[in-house]
Symmetry: D2
Subunit: 108 residues, 4 copies
């Protein structure tokens, strides 16, 4: 089963999707929202591609490596933006993104 072979990736994607969506929500509530606009954008880019790849794995898509390569790049970009900000939600999101990027690269 692809969802068994890819268990580590599925978990990384799921945590990253949740962390990004949570960071998106929290950024929109910050006082300094102007500073967070790139983070808001990238959080949603990253959450969406992670959710997409989760489903692709679950349905045994033949395009997992290609999608994982794009996902790794988006996770990396989101992690780099998030780590610039001291908010706890950003720091946790950066961590989830970098971990997910790393696991994606193993499959890509």
């Amino acid at each position: 089963m692809p969802h068994e072979q890819h268990q580590e990736l599925l978990e990384a994607l799921h945590e990253c999707m949740e962390a990004c969506n949570h960071c998106y929500d929290a950024c929109l509530k910050e006082e300094d929202v102007k500073m967070m606009v790139d983070c808001i954008r990238l959080d949603r880019e990253c959450a969406d591609i992670c959710a997409y790849l989760e489903q692709a794995i679950a349905r045994n898509s033949q395009f997992i490596p290609q999608l994982a390569a794009v996902c790794a790049e988006i996770c990396e970009a989101c992690g780099n933006e998030c780590k610039k900000h001291d908010h706890e939600h950003c720091q946790r999101c950066a961590e989830a993104c970098f971990h997910c990027a790393e696991v994606c690269r193993k499959i890509a």
Copy 2:
């Protein structure tokens, strides 16, 4: 946090999304694929709405109750189709669908 309040729902949605995508993949490999066409359709309807609602919860959407009502109905329909078939993937999918429908109805 919405993703903490809705932990039971998030888990039910995630299991249902995985079970439906797995059932979709397995149905397409069955000898008797002609018998499985409604199951194939409903598996994807159900997987997609579950994945959609998972993200909506994670980003703290204000439309969770309305989406959960639609999701409950789709899960119920998918469960009813799946339970007609003896394949283990269908039986497991039916179970995940009925559980998810029930948890969705609590929120709807």
Copy 3:
């Protein structure tokens, strides 16, 4: 064909999806981004459900009425938020949202 029966709805959804995504992008570039946070959120809620319903119609889903009911409600909420703001992208988005809500309600 569902995509022929529902031509008016498909067009309304597509215009609304584009207007909402454009408004989301433009709001994130505004000086007064703090004032636009609800608009940013609702733009993405609305774009996502419109895109979802477009695909559901195109694949001849049996759940079009239920999805259209939720979509109408989200479009209405997004239109109400957008019309508060004088930016041209918000005004155009409000118009697309209200039109889409109206067409959705005919199907729902």
Copy 4:
């Protein structure tokens, strides 16, 4: 505006998404559904990535080239499968897929 720069791509993606979803629906109604299983799978892979990329362009994503590269590959694979089948929906889908793959490659 990205949605103006990318007008040709947006149209190709939209036609391809509609053709693939229609082909998916029509394949599931064919007598010889067993022969159509790869087509059913690829139709949904292709419809989903096209819909995804449409939204990414509309929201001015910074990852359009990378997503277009994956999309081109999926469109190509779907077109190659569809063109094996004489059904009119398959032939029309193949055409939409090959055109979309070509336009994607210009951006990728």
